[in-house]
Structure formats: structure tokens, C-alpha cells
Symmetry: C2
Subunit: 243 residues, 2 copies
């Protein structure tokens, strides 16, 4: 039976982390909100969240239906999919560690988003541009190096290989890291260009994931929503540090 993924149809957002795992696994899935008549899939998604009969309503997309289970929260979904599709280690310690890395990426992602929306997601960027400049400057100076330095260290400390974050094979954490590095390069091309040497393992990981046949095919397909200034990673030149 195919999985059903529910996510906003026009942005990558957090749904993309789930899509990448499903695609890398070659799993059958429906991307429900992007299907069929305009808005029908979105209406179904909102019904699952807000309907009176929803016993365990998700707070927000993405969520995944697998048989009778309806699973929300990106990291929770990936933790569910990982062992089922060979995208997580089999031992308990390895599974916990993979999830831990994913949760740290989730924290990073909030900070990435808030560079352009430090006051409120309900206001336009233009209404919080001044605050966004302050927050982005701090992000590029202190927060991005802290997170990226950490993940670079995780790669270098992996006793099996520095080609993957966990153990000797691809996990969903690597797929998510690909998306984060790609997104940061979209949002902050100037700042990221300067860091390629400091984070060479992370950049190599990104390239390695991108070259995997299934991921490569996915990225070239219409199933991949392009980056845009509606998503988590947005490019505003004035937030991208000095030239």
C-alpha cells in the first residue's frame, strides 16, 4: 500500500525532508495535496488536521499516512520510515543517534527560517526587514558556524567513514543534511561560498547524495518543488553578508 504524504503543494518546506527519504527508498507514495483538482488535496489535508473527527490531529503539515497510522512532525516521520527502508541503522544506539542528529537539524532549520521572519510568520518580510538584518548577521556570524561546525565534526568523528553521518551507509540524516546545505547555498550564496573549505565534508556529502541515481532522477523531475522565496530557505541579498 502506498504512503500518503500531506504537505503544502507549492513549497519544499519541511515536507521536502520526507519526500527525499521516500524518493531515496524508492517507496510508493502519493503527494496528496499536489494531486488532481486544484485545492482538493489541500482540502483533504486540512480536513485531517481540523476535522471534528480527527482523534489525533497533527498540529501542522507534513504528515504521513501509513495504513491506519497518521504520523506528524518531520523527525517523527523519518524515524518511522528509516528502519522500514534501510535508511537508519538497525541497532538501538544507532537509531537513537540518527534521530538525535535529525532533531538537531530541526533546531537549525527553525533558526534558518527565522533569519527572514524574526518577529512573526504572520507578517511579510518587508514588515520585519530591520529585525531580519540583525538576526541574519548574528546567524551568519555565530549560529550557522556552530551548527555546521558541529555536523562537520560528526562526519569527521564517525569511526566507520566520514562519507556518512552515521555508520557506513546512507541514512535519512544524510538526506536531510543534503537539503540543508543546498538550501543554505540558495539562501546565502555569498556567505556559503566562503565556507566550502571549512566544511568540506558537508559539501562532499551534499554532492554524494545529489549523485545517487534515485535522488538525481527525483531532483530533475517535476516532483521536486523548486527553491523559492516562499519556503524556509529564502534569498534576500541584503541578508547574505558582505560581498
Amino acid at each position: 500500500m502506498a504512503y500518503e504524504l500531506y504537505y503544502w503543494p507549492t513549497i519544499q518546506g519541511r515536507g521536502e525532508f520526507v519526500r527525499l527519504a521516500l524518493e531515496a527508498a524508492g517507496a510508493r507514495y502519493r503527494d496528496v495535496a499536489r494531486e488532481g483538482g486544484k485545492g482538493a488535496g489541500v482540502a483533504e489535508m486540512l480536513r485531517l488536521m481540523n476535522g471534528r473527527n480527527a482523534a489525533r490531529p497533527p498540529f501542522a503539515p507534513p504528515f504521513l499516512r501509513s495504513g491506519r497510522l497518521l504520523i506528524g512532525q518531520t523527525a517523527n516521520i523519518l524515524q518511522f520510515l528509516g528502519p522500514r527502508h534501510g535508511l537508519a541503522p538497525k541497532d538501538e544506539g544507532g537509531r537513537i543517534w540518527t534521530h538525535q542528529l535529525q532533531l538537531t537539524m530541526a533546531d537549525f532549520l527553525v533558526e534558518i527560517h527565522d533569519t527572514h521572519h524574526p518577529v512573526s510568520g504572520n507578517l511579510y518580510f518587508e514588515e520585519q526587514k530591520k529585525e531580519a538584518r540583525r538576526r541574519s548577521a548574528d546567524f551568519l556570524k555565530t549560529r550557522a558556524p556552530k551548527f555546521l561546525g558541529y555536523f562537520e565534526r560528526v562526519l569527521s568523528r564517525n569511526a566507520r567513514t566520514d562519507r556518512y553521518l552515521v555508520g557506513a551507509a546512507l541514512t535519512y540524516a544524510d538526506l536531510s543534511m543534503f537539503q540543508i546545505i543546498s538550501g543554505l547555498c540558495y539562501a546565502f550564496p555569498r556567505a556559503m561560498a566562503k565556507t566550502a573549505r571549512a566544511y568540506r565534508r558537508l559539501f562532499a556529502l551534499r554532492a554524494r547524495v545529489q549523485e545517487r541515481p534515485r535522488i538525481c532522477a527525483y531532483l530533475a523531475s517535476p516532483r521536486r518543488v523548486p527553491f523559492s522565496n516562499e519556503g524556509i530557505f529564502r534569498h534576500y541579498s541584503e541578508l547574505d553578508g558582505r560581498a
Copy 2:
């Protein structure tokens, strides 16, 4: 063998969510950074994070040692402890749902923290007071109602009882919800006083958790770090809406 909890010794912070679970379970644990000679525990904590030998270093406290496992990320720790101490359902769907709620609380917690630090955790509150006023106003108007309304709905939709978030018994998610409601009442006493009726199930849950013998004893003990303006929940009168 006793668990070892590692967290900053002078604040509740995210460590408190783990402490509450350990205390409710009556589990044996050491709160390492609060023990013994001043600073020795903190030094040990930093060594585990930053030491050259750390194969799987946590990004930040809290983290928990259980035998050979070193587990970071609050929700990850709780997910580990839950089934071992009767603080999570036994079935897969129930465990996934409990974790999903915990992750949504983690998202809420970031937004609570950022009311007083919308620009950077590296700057003092006084250096971002203007931004904090804007962000807090939006938080109280749109974000807190969205999250609290959601969790109130989760209680009301629980087919077993509206006394707990999941199933018919206490889980770690209830303990975390107790901490969040308590913290919001500390940080935003005026704004929260107005909401007691709208979120009566959440307030009742908070009281119910607080009255459990082990939690009651814990809260009265020196093991409970008090709320303060160094933690996630901070009280600044100017951020607390209108009188």
C-alpha cells in the same frame, strides 16, 4: 545502574523536562552538573560534548547517560525513558503519537524562548527589547492561542479521557505540558490569567500533575531549580500584554 543527567546546573531549561520524567518514574539518577565541587560536573559535561574522544557528541545539553548510551535532544531522551518507566503507551501508534506531541511542544518552546530573545541568544534582553516587544505581542495574539488551543483540543479529543493527553494514563507528554503551562504562568501572568477558562483542560492537567505525590515532593525539594529570568520562561512585565 543510575542514569546520569547532564544539564546546566542553575536553570530549569530543557533539562527540566527530563528531570520531571525521571522524578515521576521514581528513577535513580545523578544530576551530574549540580553535584560536588563547583564546576567539576559542568567540566565533565563539556568534556562529553567537546572532548576529542567523543564519538557521538551531543550538540547541547541536556543529555542522558544510560549504560553505554549517551542520548541527546530532550524529546529523544523522553522517548527513550517513556517505555522503560511506564510513561508512554506500549503500542506503536501510541508511542509515535506521544512523541509527536512532545515534538510539537519543543516547537512551542522555541517560540516561547524567542519572545525575549528574537534577535540572538548571544545578546542581552536589553539589547533586543524593542524586537522582543513586537515578537511577544504577536506570540500572545496568534502563536500561544494556536498551540494552546491545539493541545486543549488534543485533550478533548482523547477517546479514553480528557484527563491525559494520550490514552488513559500519565505519559511524559503530560509532564512536559505541566512544565509549559507553569512556565507560561510565570512568564506571562497577566496574559495567562485571562486564558484559564479557554484552556480549562490544560490548567486542570497542570494541577493534576502537580498533585502527584512524587512530583509534589520533587517540586518542594532542592532538586527543583526555581524559575528565573535566566531560563526559557522569563518574566518581563513589558512583554506580558495589557493589564
